[in-house]
Symmetry: C2
Subunit: 379 residues, 2 copies
């Protein structure tokens, strides 16, 4: 059975002080329905990806919460897997269609982070990690800094190479009206920004963001629908200490191999990818673990512009601006990646359009690599 | 495609001061695997139902968390929908099998509530309800008290009728070695217990509990496997104020009608049911909304013993002891209901065995009726 993304929309991402979770959800879902040229009554189930609403806002039961807000009296589910919540919600939505239970469903990814104190947000985010790491005082920048250190030691990756990821993604974000940041960066600016968790600096880190994204998935083909060809998930240990190898995220490798097989493509077929660059090192790892570059070769390639919009021949990575430039409202990220790919494959991505894009890949990660979700879309 | 519950197990439910969430999960899942006579390596995905771990314990990302603890490097998901989290996790697991993505999966429902102060638990539980109700100071006993008042006014239901639900469920629990309570009750004891939210008294309310339950679901039939014939979900408004009718939970009615149609049965075919008696009035509503009794007639029937083990002819309800007698570790409840039905349909439920049970129904509710999940199992 073939599945199609028939509608896709995001809100603007950013520090949306005047927006409520309800308003963000309405905007994303109703715009996605409009984009799908269908009515709310065609939606048979709602899947919500969110991580922090319970811990920070005391509101759980978000399936029913948003179903009521959207006027949808349909089965509704919240799926949570830290920063991969959006991707996991999509995976369960895909299964629900393939199972024959539903024929058209909506997937909403949403997070409202700026209503809370940054230190509370940082504490809550550590809910994605292992108890040992949390009680030892580790933070996510700290965990990714360890991964960066190992990569630098093993492959000679430099801080400037990492900085180049942020430079590229801000360039892309400057071309995306919905992105959180529209300022471009230089390697020097990244290098001079405050050190957060050495060797990662402030401008190596994705921001705290508000935003929502929604897609309408259906078994019915529409004229503007984009085929969703594969949805695959893999899991690794929650903490870094239990892993055999810190030069890769094994879950990314495993999920992408599964997804390539399901979609009948190889990494060479991917024209455009939205990957989980929560920190600059994460994009370097993703490039290698997805098979786009040999291990140890991605950082230099990114710095040479090989994955920048307009490169002409290689895969373009994070044309939306990625988590770094477009913003990272945790539960929304995995769904926003799909929205960007749909725009790219439809050829309506404006100044950040990847010319001739026919196959797209989305890569959403939870924690420091415990969960990886891959989706592949085809024109 | 037919699906089978090939293994099922619960921990003891109760105030398990010496147990950890990790230990409870290991016990439930490994016992379920043993019951299924299969190895952990046969499990291809893990679905976790849990509500409170993030809000009360700061630990989210429970799919990966428990996958690591159980030594399962498979796709893992947390599904949340308040007290229906277990049922919703099961529904998504069912879809994942019907979709063809996986062939054998594990579903774990778990909650560890007694590690936290009761007032914190009560506050966190209100995360299941509407913002308006929460900020107005409503509690779940208060919301169900409103439903009880309406039922008493419309149908002449008495406080003694409600008490009879608790009496029956404690009787059943006294026959269940894994139940939280083994003491039997009299109507007089219930009537004399402290008033929590008039007309509901302490002994009308399900307790705060710890516990875990797990089932192994497979597309492969086994000798002891029990067929899972239907999985259906329905949604209503989060808050009571938005509902047209407070004499019923419309989500229960809608989900059960869907499930009967899928399974090709009617309410008259159900021999044994595990229903969501978070408060005694909830079981009365469930009896009517599931179609077992006409509206307004269930309370007297329960009081007459028509749904008690050994009644000989009518459906037996909550042989496990239900939420009231067996305990209500929120995320575990929807999965424990399945474990009880599997035991009943296999004829191994000991002193609480419903003789000749061939068709069972599980009814799991989130909030004050915003989510209802129905599963039907056949011998």
């Amino acid at each position: 059975m073939k599945l199609f993304v028939t509608g896709a929309a995001t809100t603007k991402f950013g520090e949306l002080w005047n927006a409520s979770p309800r308003g963000l959800a309405r905007h994303a879902v109703f715009e996605a329905l409009k984009d799908a040229e269908t009515l709310p009554s065609s939606v048979e189930a709602l899947f919500v990806g969110n991580m922090l609403s319970g811990m920070l806002g005391g509101q759980e039961h978000l399936g029913a919460f948003f179903a009521e807000e959207l006027g949808l009296t349909v089965p509704a589910f919240k799926v949570e897997g830290a920063c991969a919540s959006g991707g996991l919600a999509l995976h369960n939505a895909v299964n629900s269609l393939l199972s024959g239970q539903y024929t058209t469903v909506a997937v909403l990814g949403i997070e409202k982070m700026t209503d809370h104190k940054p230190e509370d947000v940082a504490t809550a985010l550590m809910g994605a990690g292992s108890e040992e790491e949390r009680s030892a005082g580790a933070t996510f920048p700290g965990l990714y800094a360890i991964l960066a250190r190992v990569h630098m030691r093993e492959f000679g990756t430099t801080e400037e190479d990492l900085a180049a990821v942020a430079v590229k993604n801000h360039l892309h974000a400057s071309l995306n009206p919905n992105a959180q940041f529209h300022n471009t960066l230089t390697v020097e600016q990244v290098m001079k920004s405050s050190r957060i968790a050495d060797p990662l600096k402030l401008l190596d880190c994705s921001p705290i963001s508000d935003g929502a994204a929604a897609v309408i998935l259906s078994i019915h083909k529409t004229q503007r629908g984009v085929e969703l060809s594969a949805s695959a998930v893999a899991t690794d240990t929650l903490g870094l200490a239990q892993r055999k190898d810190l030069t890769q995220l094994a879950a990314t490798r495993d999920a992408s191999q599964k997804a390539y097989a399901i979609a009948g493509v190889t990494e060479a077929d991917i024209d455009v990818a939205e990957v989980h660059d929560c920190f600059t090192i994460a994009e370097v790892l993703a490039m290698e673990d997805l098979g786009f570059f040999p291990k140890g070769k991605a950082a230099a390639a990114i710095a040479q512009g090989k994955t920048t919009v307009g490169n002409g021949k290689h895969v373009v990575v994070n044309p939306s601006g990625g988590l770094k430039g477009c913003g990272h409202p945790v539960g929304a990220t995995g769904v926003k990646q799909i929205v960007e790919l749909v725009d790219q494959l439809r050829g309506i991505a404006g100044k950040r359009q990847v010319s001739g894009a026919r196959v797209g890949l989305a890569h959403n990660v939870g924690g420091s690599g415990a969960t990886a979700v891959i989706h592949i879309l085809k024109k």
